[in-house]
Amino acid sequence: MSDNLFHEIEQDERSRVAERVAAEALIVDVDGYEGPLDLLLTLSRTQKVDLRKISILQLAEQYLKFVEKARELRIELAADYLVMAAWLAFLKSRLLLPPDPSEDGPSGEELAAHLAFQLERLQAMRDVAARLMARSRLGRDFFARGIPETMERVRKVTYTATLLDLMQGYARIRTKDEFRPYALDRESIFSLEEALERMRSLIGFAGDWMDISSYMPKGFGTDPAKRRSATASTFAAALELAKEGKLEIKQSEVFAPIQVRRRKEEDGR
C-alpha cells in the first residue's frame, strides 16, 4: 500500500474521522453486508459522487483499508472479501503503474470500468426493487373479489346399453321361465293357521270322540298333495289346541285312527 495515498487521505482530518466511524460501523455490521460488491457500494457512498464518476482507485483504497482494519480487529472475513481485496490490490497496481506491454489481458482501466458498471448495475437493481415494492400491491392497496364463485360442475349422467345387453337380459328372463324354481304352491296348501281356525270353530260341538279326519277341510280329501297338507296341519292344530287345554286326543293303537273331543270343563278342575 502506498504511503502517499495514506497521506492524502489523512490530510483531511474530518473526513478521516468520519471514515473511521464509517469503517467501524461497517465492521460491526459486517454480517449485514451481502458480499464484497455490497460493501464496495456502501463505501462508494462516501465519495458523494455519481456512481458513473466514481474513483475506482479511491474505492479500492477504501476497501483495502477496511480489510486492514478488520484484520487489526481480528475479525474473520469471508473468503470472497479477501479474494476481492487481492483483486483490488492488483487493480490498484495496474491503475498506478504504467502498462506493461508484455502483459496480456484487460487493462486496468477496462477492469475498473467493469467494476464501476457492476456497482452501478447493483445500485440500479436496488433502486428498481424499491420502486417495485412501493407499487400498489394486490392484497394491500387493491383487492381481488372477496367472494369468488367457483365453477360448478354439473354432472349429467346418461345411460346406455347395447343390443347384446338387451338380448342377454331377455334371454335371462326366458331362461328363468323354463327353469322355474321350486316355489310353494299356495293352492294345494292348508296352512296351520287355517287348520287352527277351522278346528276352533268346530270343536265346541264335539262333545264325543270323533275321528280327526272329519275336521279335514272340504276338497282336501281326494288330491294326495292337498290331503297330505291338510292332514299335517289339522294334526298340528289338534296338538296345539290340546296344549291349550281345549281338546283331548286319543289313539287306541299304533296307526289306529286319531280321535279328538272337546275337553270338558269339570275334567280340568
Binding site: 372477496g146 346399453a161 338387451l166 338380448m167 328372463i173
Partner: protein, 242 residues
C-alpha cells in the same frame, strides 16, 4: 364518472332537523366533510366487491369516512347494476354482489357421464321390446318380480319407451311400447327385427349362464329394485355388467 351521482344536498335530506346545525358546522371544517355521494358509491362498490362476506349497512358506514351514508349510496349502486351481469343482492340485512340469475349457466361446466343401464332396466326394456304393447302387470309377470316406478320412469325419460294405448281389459291398464329412439339406438328398423328365442338359443345366449334362482325355496316375489334394498343376491354383482 359521476353523471348519476347526486350532489351532497341530497344527503342533507336524510338529516333530522335537529342535526342541521351541527352538520352545518362540521361542513364548515372541510376535514370532516363526507365525500360526495358518487364517491361514497364507489367506496360501497369496492368494499362489497372485496369483502369475503355480505356487508351490513352499519359495517359499511363504519368503514367509510365519517358522515358517509352507505344506505343512500347503496340505492344508487343498486340502480347502477340493474340489468348488468352482476347485481346487488340483500342477504338478511347485508349486501353482496351476485351473478345475475339469468347468467348462472356461465358458472357451470357440464360433464357428461355415460353409465350402463341397470340389469332391472335392461330386462324391463327387453320385455317391452319383445312383448309390446305390454302392461306393467305383464312385465312383472314375465320378469317374476315387481317393476319399480323408477325403472319405468328412467326408460321413459331416456325416451326409449313410451306409453302405448290402454288395454281393453278390466282396469284398462296402460301399455308400454318402444320408441323410434330405441330402434335408432340399437340399430333396428323395427322391433320385429329383434332376434327370437330360437336365435338367442342358437347364439348361445340362453345357455351361457346357469339357470338363475336354481336354489329351491328362494323367495322369488321380492321387489327387485335396481337401486333399492331387497335385491336378490345374485342380482347385485352385475348391475352394470358389460
Amino acid at each position: 364518472m359521476s353523471e348519476t351521482g347526486p350532489q351532497d344536498d341530497q344527503s342533507e335530506a336524510t338529516l333530522s332537523p335537529e342535526d342541521a346545525g351541527t352538520e352545518e358546522e362540521a361542513r364548515g371544517e372541510s376535514l370532516f366533510e363526507a365525500p360526495p355521494i358518487a364517491e361514497q358509491e364507489r367506496m360501497v362498490e369496492a368494499i362489497l366487491f372485496a369483502s369475503a362476506e355480505p356487508v351490513t349497512v352499519n359495517e359499511l358506514n363504519a368503514r367509510m369516512p365519517h358522515g358517509s351514508d352507505a344506505a343512500e349510496a347503496l340505492v344508487y349502486l343498486k340502480k347502477r347494476y340493474e340489468g348488468r351481469g352482476v347485481a346487488l343482492a340483500k342477504v338478511g340485512d347485508a349486501w353482496v354482489f351476485r351473478t345475475a340469475p339469468d347468467l348462472g349457466f356461465l358458472m357451470q361446466r357440464e360433464t357428461v357421464e355415460t353409465r350402463k343401464l341397470s340389469r332391472a332396466a335392461i330386462e324391463t326394456l327387453a320385455i317391452i321390446a319383445y312383448h309390446q304393447p305390454v302392461t306393467r302387470a305383464e312385465i312383472e309377470e314375465i320378469r317374476g318380480v315387481s317393476v319399480s316406478r323408477g325403472t319405468i320412469d328412467q326408460l321413459l325419460e331416456m325416451e326409449w319407451i313410451r306409453f302405448g294405448r290402454r288395454k281393453m281389459t278390466p282396469g284398462r291398464p296402460i301399455t308400454f311400447v318402444v320408441t323410434q329412439d330405441f330402434l335408432a339406438h340399437f340399430g333396428l328398423e323395427s322391433a320385429r327385427d329383434l332376434p327370437g328365442l330360437k336365435e338367442l338359443r342358437a347364439a348361445g345366449l340362453l345357455d351361457n349362464r346357469p339357470p338363475p334362482s336354481s336354489m329351491p325355496g328362494l323367495p322369488d316375489g321380492e321387489d327387485d329394485e335396481d337401486d333399492g334394498a331387497g335385491i336378490a343376491a345374485e342380482d347385485q354383482g352385475d348391475m352394470f355388467e358389460a
